[in-house]
């Protein structure tokens, strides 16, 4: 296992076994795909959309982040985005923001580790 994946695994909730199954045992491809996560996190920032009041875009971005975090096997982030998406759809923006505040430090931490290995 690469040091990047090891570092992610020892610091954050990441299900490497499940991910490797999804990547059909191709660890190199998993690592390569993980390197795309910082760009995805920036592109699909839910926080920016909520702050600008564009809730439709916020929903689209939360949906994209849900898929991405699920596919990369970040269970905590994935579950959080499931809740954020539901909250935005139900116009419970307050809860969406609360949940975002709760998980963004983890997301930023993951991004930071990945960026270190770029």
């Amino acid at each position: 296992m690469s040091s990047m994946i090891d570092e992610l695994k020892s610091n954050y909730d990441i299900n490497v076994d499940e991910a490797l199954e999804r990547f059909m045992g191709n660890a190199a491809l998993y690592e390569m795909t993980l390197r795309k996560f910082p760009a995805a996190a920036e592109k699909y920032s839910v926080e920016d959309c909520i702050q600008s009041g564009d809730f439709q875009k916020a929903e689209e971005h939360a949906h994209a982040m849900k898929g991405t975090t699920g596919n990369l096997s970040f269970p905590t982030l994935f579950n959080a985005y499931v809740e954020i998406l539901q909250s935005i759809r139900g116009m419970d923006i307050e809860n969406a923001e609360r949940k975002l505040t709760e998980i963004l430090p983890m997301q930023d931490g993951i991004v930071e580790i990945i960026n270190k290995y770029m």
């Binding site: 059909m24 191709n26 795909t33 795309k36 994209a64 898929g67 699920g70 596919n71």
Partner: protein
């Protein structure tokens, strides 16, 4: 066998990369990161796609927008599988209305993705052309556009035949026999919507069954006894033809082109599953390709002695076809047998015109 071509449509680079890794062994994959780019590939008609795997939620044009436009353009024969993290009742109903084949959920499960996409392609390979080429009322525009295209294609084929010292008479006759067989088939099976316009178009498509010869070395075509490798090269005229007929992928010509594709590809299949290129068994091969193969073989046998286009010669051809166990079904042979007088009449007129 060549790989099937899959168009992967997802705005998430990460998701595309995962799916591509899962499916690359079984498919040649084209990618689009939004619905608009996907439509450009789908409507362009080249390369010819075998399936589309598409996300619902995308910028510019979403998955359902693409499906709506495909429906408007009458692209009904391209299997689409939707990717969604949330298959709600509403989504499922909407997808059913667009005849979506299946759903794949997020996060992806490699086993499910492979199973579902494999099933879609297997189904497509073995569906009859009745499903691959659904009948609809042909518009004047479709009929006219198809005529223009067929005439251009015919010029190309005739020029090629001349180059290798042949003519197209066998194909003219096979196409006419095909028309007679189809008329008999539509009558006996009481298929009301297999009308004159469709029968004419399908018969016209039969003329092009060997257009794939253009993609095979001419020395292999004109040879009588072929080596194993030459035989393999010769058999490629089926798949080459199926590709070649897509020179004009315009939606107005789609029924004709899809029919040509089926007839080129499968006129050498055998009812017992030992034909080529796909070893299609029984009625896994479309009735049209079966009748086209029969018209092709019949004309070769019937015109073997060109001076004797009599009922006796018809009997000889029938006997040889019946003796070729497993090549044709008893059903299509009986269609041929029941069409004998119309066929004899046609050949008599044909010879008279030649004189």
């Amino acid at each position: 066998m060549t790989k099937k071509i899959l168009l992967l449509v997802d705005d998430s680079e990460i998701d595309r990369s995962i799916l591509k890794n899962m499916l690359a062994a079984d498919f040649d994959i084209l990618e689009a990161d939004n619905g608009y780019s996907a439509l450009k590939i789908i409507l362009g008609g080249r390369p010819r796609l075998d399936a589309v795997l598409m996300d619902i939620s995308m910028p510019i044009l979403g998955g359902f927008d693409v499906l709506r436009i495909m429906q408007e353009k009458q692209i009904e024969n391209l299997p689409v599988v939707l990717v969604t993290a949330n298959a709600t009742k509403e989504i499922v109903h909407q997808a059913l209305a667009y005849k979506v084949k299946d759903f794949i959920g997020k996060p992806f499960d490699a086993k499910i993705v492979l199973e579902k996409m494999g099933a879609i392609v297997d189904v497509k390979m073995t569906t009859t052309s009745e499903e691959v080429v659904p009948r609809h009322i042909l518009t004047e525009e479709e009929i006219e556009e198809t005529k223009t295209y067929a005439s251009k294609l015919k010029k190309i084929f005739k020029r090629y035949a001349k180059l290798i010292g042949k003519d197209d008479e066998h194909y003219v006759r096979s196409s006419a026999v095909m028309e007679i067989l189809l008329t008999e088939y539509a009558t006996r099976e009481k298929i009301a919507d297999l009308d004159t316009a469709h029968i004419e178009m399908i018969s016209q498509a039969a003329y092009f069954m060997d257009i794939g010869f253009l993609g095979v070395p001419s020395e292999v075509i004109i040879k009588n006894a072929r080596t194993k490798s030459e035989l393999a090269a010769y058999e490629k005229h089926t798949t080459a033809g199926a590709e070649l007929v897509w020179l004009n992928p315009a939606p107005e010509c789609r029924y004709f082109v899809k029919m040509c594709e089926d007839l080129c590809m499968h006129h050498h299949e055998r009812f017992d599953g030992t034909g080529y290129p796909h070893n299609l068994n029984g009625n896994d091969n479309s009735i049209y390709a079966q009748l086209c193969g029969l018209a092709h073989r019949f004309d070769k046998l019937f015109t073997k002695n060109t001076k004797e286009m009599s009922e006796m010669q018809f009997e000889y051809a029938m006997k040889r076809l019946r003796e070729s166990t497993g090549e044709f079904s008893s059903n299509v042979l009986s269609i041929l047998n029941d069409s004998r007088y119309t066929i004899l009449f046609y050949y008599k007129n044909y010879i008279n015109k030649k004189k």
